[in-house]
C-alpha cells in the first residue's frame, strides 16, 4: 500500500469506529472474552497471538498488472478488519495486519505466503486474486497448515482444507445466468468468447454443456483471444456472420476494455444484441466507460446497487474509509466477507488453531453479508445467490434477476 493509503486508513479507521458501534454491540461483549480465553488455550500451534493482539496477513498485488484488480480487495479486507477491531476484536484481541505485496508475480505469492506463515505465524491470510497466484501459494498453505481466505470468483475444480473460497465457483455464476437468458430472452443460439486461459476456458466448457444438454440451445461459436490483445475487428465480424441470440463473454484485463469499445463502435449494442458477461464488475466499468456497456448484462453474486440494509451500510462505510468516488465490485464484497467469516469461525471454535477453525466454519450462516445471507458449505465454498444486473450509463446496474441460494459445487458432475 502506498503511504497515502496508509494515512487515509489511519484517519478513517477512527471514523469507522463510530459507524461500527452498532455491530460491536451485537458481535462482542468482547473484552470480557479476553480473560476467558487465555492465550495458551486459544493458541496451541505457535501462531502470532498474544493476550492483546492477533496477527493476520493480507497478500495481494499492489504493484504490477494485477494491482488494478486487487486494490479493491485490499481495501475491503482492511475495512472489515478495522470494523472488527472497533467492535472489540476477536476473542478480545485486536487484529494486526501484516501486508505483503504479491507484485503480480506468482512465485512471489508463494514466497510471501511462506513468509507470512513461517516467519510471521499469521493466524489467517486474506489474499490471492488470480487462479495462478492461488495455485502457486496453495502448496505452501497446505504444507504449513495455514488458513487462506480467497475472494475471487473462479473456475472451481479445487477444494482444500486450508482454503475458504468466498467468491463463486464457476457453476454458481454461470448456470443461473444462462437459465435466465434462455427463459427471458428466448435465446437459442449462443456465441462464447473469452480470454485464452483457464478460467474462461473452464467457464465456457460448463456453459456449453449447460446450453447443449439442459437448455436445448446451440453454441454457434467459441472464441478465445490472447491475454492483452486489443484488436477485435475480425472476432466481431465473425459474430456478425453468426448472428447469435446471446453473446456470452469472459474477456479480462486490458482486452476487456477494447472488446466493449470496439463492439459498440461496430454497431453491436444492447438495442440489437443481448450480451451477458461474467467478467465485468463495477471496477471494470471505470475503464470500459458506462456508455459502452449500457443495456448489457452481467452475472455476479453482488452489485454495489443491491438493495438491503447490510449493503447500504457497507457501501457507506466503504466510501467513508476510501473516498466517495470508490466503487465496489463483486470481488471486493467477497473479500470483505473473509475477515468476518474468520472472526465467526474463531469464536465458534474458541480458538485460533487452524485445525479447529477449519472445522468450526462450515455450516456457519452469515446474515450480515452485504450480498445478503450466505452460508459456508462443508466444501469450503459459500452458498450464495446469483444476480443478473443490467448496466446503466452511470456505471451501476439495475438488478433484474435474483436467484435463490445456490449450493456451491466445485466439481460439478456432468460438466467436466
Amino acid at each position: 500500500m502506498s503511504k497515502y493509503d496508509r494515512r487515509q486508513f489511519m484517519k478513517t479507521a477512527g471514523a469507522v469506529v463510530g459507524a461500527s458501534l452498532a455491530l460491536g454491540m451485537s458481535a462482542g461483549v468482547s473484552n470480557a472474552f479476553a480473560a476467558d480465553f487465555a492465550t495458551a488455550k486459544v493458541n496451541t500451534t505457535k501462531l502470532a497471538v498474544t493476550d492483546k493482539t492477533v496477527k493476520v496477513g493480507i497478500l495481494h498485488s499492489s504493484t504490477g498488472t494485477m494491482a488494478i484488480s486487487e486494490t479493491g480487495s485490499i481495501q475491503a479486507e482492511k475495512l472489515a478488519i478495522a470494523q472488527i477491531n472497533a467492535s472489540g476484536g476477536i476473542l478480545g484481541r485486536k487484529i494486526e495486519i501484516i501486508q505483503e505485496d504479491g507484485a503480480s508475480d506468482w512465485p512471489t505469492f508463494a514466497e510471501k505466503s511462506k513468509k507470512l506463515l513461517e516467519n510471521d505465524h499469521t493466524a489467517a491470510v486474506f489474499g490471492c486474486w488470480t487462479s495462478a497466484s492461488r495455485k502457486a501459494a496453495l502448496p505452501v498453505f497446505e504444507k504449513d497448515n495455514g488458513l487462506l481466505f480467497y475472494p475471487t470468483f473462479y473456475e472451481g475444480l479445487e477444494q482444500s482444507k486450508n482454503v475458504f473460497y468466498t467468491g463463486q465457483e464457476a457453476t454458481q455464476q454461470i448456470l443461473a445466468g444462462l437459465d435466465w437468458v434462455a427463459k427471458e430472452k428466448k435465446a437459442k443460439t449462443y456465441y462464447l468468447i473469452g480470454s485464452d486461459y483457464i478460467w474462461p476456458r473452464t467457464s465456457m466448457k460448463i456453459a456449453r454443456k449447460h446450453i447443449e444438454q439442459h437448455l436445448g440451445g446451440k453454441v454457434v461459436g467459441e472464441e478465445y483471444v490472447a491475454l492483452g490483445d486489443t484488436q477485435f475487428g475480425s472476432v466481431i465480424n465473425k459474430i456478425k456472420l453468426k448472428k447469435p441470440d446471446v453473446i456470452y463473454a469472459a474477456v479480462v484485463g486490458g482486452s476487456n476494455v477494447a472488446w466493449f469499445k470496439q463492439l459498440n463502435a461496430a454497431g453491436i449494442n444492447s438495442k440489437k444484441q443481448t450480451l451477458l458477461t461474467i467478467s465485468v464488475t463495477e471496477d471494470e466499468v471505470l475503464g470500459i466507460g458506462g456508455e459502452n456497456l449500457e443495456g448489457f448484462y452481467s452475472a455476479m453474486k453482488y452489485f454495489q446497487s443491491v438493495k438491503n440494509p447490510n449493503n447500504e451500510k457497507f457501501v457507506a462505510d466503504f466510501k467513508k474509509m476510501w473516498g466517495p468516488k470508490s466503487v465496489i465490485g463483486d470481488v471486493t464484497q467477497a473479500a470483505y466477507l473473509g475477515p468476518w467469516l474468520w472472526k465467526a469461525a474463531v469464536e465458534r471454535a474458541g480458538s485460533f488453531d487452524v485445525d479447529k477453525v477449519v472445522v468450526a466454519l462450515p455450516g456457519y450462516e452469515m446474515k450480515t453479508a452485504p450480498e445478503g445471507y450466505v452460508k459456508v458449505d462443508p466444501n469450503h465454498h459459500l452458498w450464495s445467490k446469483a444476480r443478473i444486473g443490467k448496466w446503466r450509463a452511470d456505471g451501476q446496474v439495475d438488478v433484474v434477476y435474483e436467484s435463490p441460494l445456490i449450493k456451491p459445487d466445485p466439481f460439478p458432475k456432468g460438466y467436466q
Partner: protein, 393 residues
C-alpha cells in the same frame, strides 16, 4: 598451478574471487539465514545461472538475448513434467475422471497422457531433456539467425518475439501444458519429498555447487582461444570473419551453451520452488534477468551472481515496505547502471582495485578477474558496443 586449473579458476585473482563467492553461498548464507530465507536465496541463485549465461552471451559475445527466459522456462518445464507425473499417481488422483494423469489434463477432457509427455516418466530421459531440449531449440534459432548474420538489436527483438509466441502457445494449450497456472503442486522427486526444510537445504547445496561448477566451466571456455575469438568477434566481427573464422558457428555454440546453463537453472528452480509457469518465459522476466547481469557486471561471471542476489534482495525488501518506491528504484538503478557503470558492481570493484594497484606499482592494471587471464593478448577495451549487423549501414 598447471594450466588446466589456472584456466578453470581464472588465475590467482579469479581463484580468490571464486573462493569468496563459494564461502558466501556455501557457508555464510546457510549459517546466517533461516530456512525460509535460504529458500529465497536458492531461488535467486537459479536466476544467477541465467545471469552467468548472459555474461558469456552478452558481455563477451555481444549478443543480447531478450529471450533467455525461453530456455530457463523450457528446462524448468521439463523438470516440472517429470515431477507432475510422479505427483499424479492413480491413488492421489482418484477423484478425477481419469485417475493417474495430471489434474489439469483431466479438467481439459484429456484421458490419456499425451505422447510428448511419455519420456518424462523416466528420470534419465528427463535429465537428458532438461539438457538437450533447450539446447536444441537454441541451436535451431541460432542456426537460422547467425548464419544469416542477424545480430544486435534485431536478434534481441526476435528472441523477444519468440518468448512471446511461446508464452501464448503454452497458455493457449492448457490441456497439455497447464496453461497460465503452469504446472503446480509438485511434491516428490523419485519418492523424496522436496518440500521439507531438509530437502530445501540439500537442493540448495546441489544448486550452489552446480552454479560454481558452471562458473568454472565458463571460465575455462572464456580463457581458451575460443574466449578470445568471442571478444574479438564482439568488437570487430568483420575482421574475425576475414581472418578465415566462421563467426556464425562460434555464435551458435555460445548461444547453445548459454541456453544449456539457463535450462539447468530452470530445472533447479522447479525443484526448489515447486512449480513452473509461463510467466518465466515471457518478456518481462527475460529482461529482468538482463538487469541482474547488468547490475552485477556483464563482464564478470562472479559479479553477476552478486548482482542477482542484490537486486532480488532489494526487490524483496523494498516491495515489502515501499512497493511504490521499488519500481522507481528498479528503473532508476537500471538507467544509472547502464549510463554510469556499464561494468556494474564488478566494474566498480576493479576500478577501485586499479587505483589501489597503480598507486603501489606501475604494473599492468587488472581489469576483471576473468579478463585478467586473456587480457594481455587482447587489446580491446571491454566496452560494450556491438553494431547491429543488419541495422545500420
Amino acid at each position: 598451478m598447471n594450466t588446466l586449473t589456472d584456466k578453470l579458476l581464472g588465475g590467482k585473482q579469479g581463484a580468490i574471487g571464486l573462493a569468496i563467492l563459494a564461502a558466501i553461498i556455501l557457508i555464510v548464507l546457510p549459517l546466517g539465514l533461516d530456512p525460509f530465507r535460504i529458500g529465497m536465496v536458492g531461488k535467486y541463485l537459479t536466476y544467477a545461472f541465467v545471469a552467468v549465461s548472459l555474461v558469456l552471451l552478452w558481455g563477451y559475445g555481444g549478443i543480447l538475448s531478450l529471450g533467455q527466459g525461453i530456455f530457463f522456462g523450457l528446462g524448468g518445464y521439463c523438470m516440472a513434467m517429470f515431477l507432475k507425473l510422479e505427483a499424479s499417481d492413480p491413488v492421489s488422483t482418484k477423484i478425477q475422471t481419469t485417475p493417474g494423469i495430471p489434474d489439469f489434463m483431466d479438467w481439459n477432457q484429456i484421458t490419456a497422457i499425451p505422447l510428448f509427455w511419455q519420456p518424462f516418466h523416466s528420470f534419465t530421459l528427463t535429465i537428458l531433456a532438461v539438457l538437450l531440449v533447450p539446447t536444441l531449440f537454441a541451436f535451431i534459432i541460432g542456426f537460422a539467425m547467425f548464419k544469416r548474420r542477424v545480430g544486435g538489436v534485431y536478434f534481441a527483438i526476435i528472441t523477444q518475439a519468440i518468448a512471446l509466441i511461446l508464452t501464448i502457445l503454452i497458455v493457449g494449450q492448457q490441456g497439455y501444458t497447464g496453461g497460465v497456472n503452469g504446472i503446480t503442486d509438485l511434491k516428490t522427486l523419485l519418492g523424496w519429498d522436496i518440500r521439507t526444510d531438509h530437502a530445501k537445504y540439500i537442493l540448495y547445496y546441489i544448486n550452489a555447487f552446480l552454479l560454481i561448477a558452471i562458473i568454472m566451466a565458463s571460465r575455462y571456455i572464456l580463457s581458451s582461444k575460443f574466449g578470445m575469438l568471442l571478444l574479438a568477434m564482439r568488437d570487430k566481427e568483420e575482421r574475425v570473419r576475414f581472418s578465415g573464422y566462421d563467426v556464425s558457428n562460434f555464435k551458435i555454440f555460445i548461444f547453445c551453451f548459454a541456453a544449456l546453463i539457463s535450462a539447468i537453472g530452470g530445472a533447479m528452480f522447479t525443484l526448489q520452488v515447486g512449480f513452473m509457469s509461463p510467466t518465466f518465459i515471457g518478456i518481462v522476466p527475460s529482461i529482468e534477468m538482463v538487469i541482474f547481469a547488468a547490475v552485477g557486471g556483464r563482464m564478470s561471471l562472479i559479479g553477476v551472481v552478486y548482482g542477482t542476489l542484490l537486486v532480488n534482495y532489494g526487490k524483496s525488501v523494498f516491495s515489502e515496505t515501499y512497493p511504490e518506491l521499488w519500481l522507481f528504484l528498479m528503473g532508476g538503478l537500471f538507467i544509472s547502471v547502464v549510463m554510469f557503470f556499464p561494468n556494474g558492481l564488478a566494474g566498480i570493484y576493479t576500478d577501485l582495485m586499479k587505483k589501489f594497484q597503480s598507486r603501489k606499482t606501475k604494473s599492468v592494471p587488472v581489469k576483471l578477474e576473468v579478463v585478467a587471464v586473456v587480457h594481455e593478448k587482447t587489446e580491446s577495451e571491454p566496452i560494450l558496443t556491438s553494431e547491429p549487423a543488419g541495422a545500420k549501414a
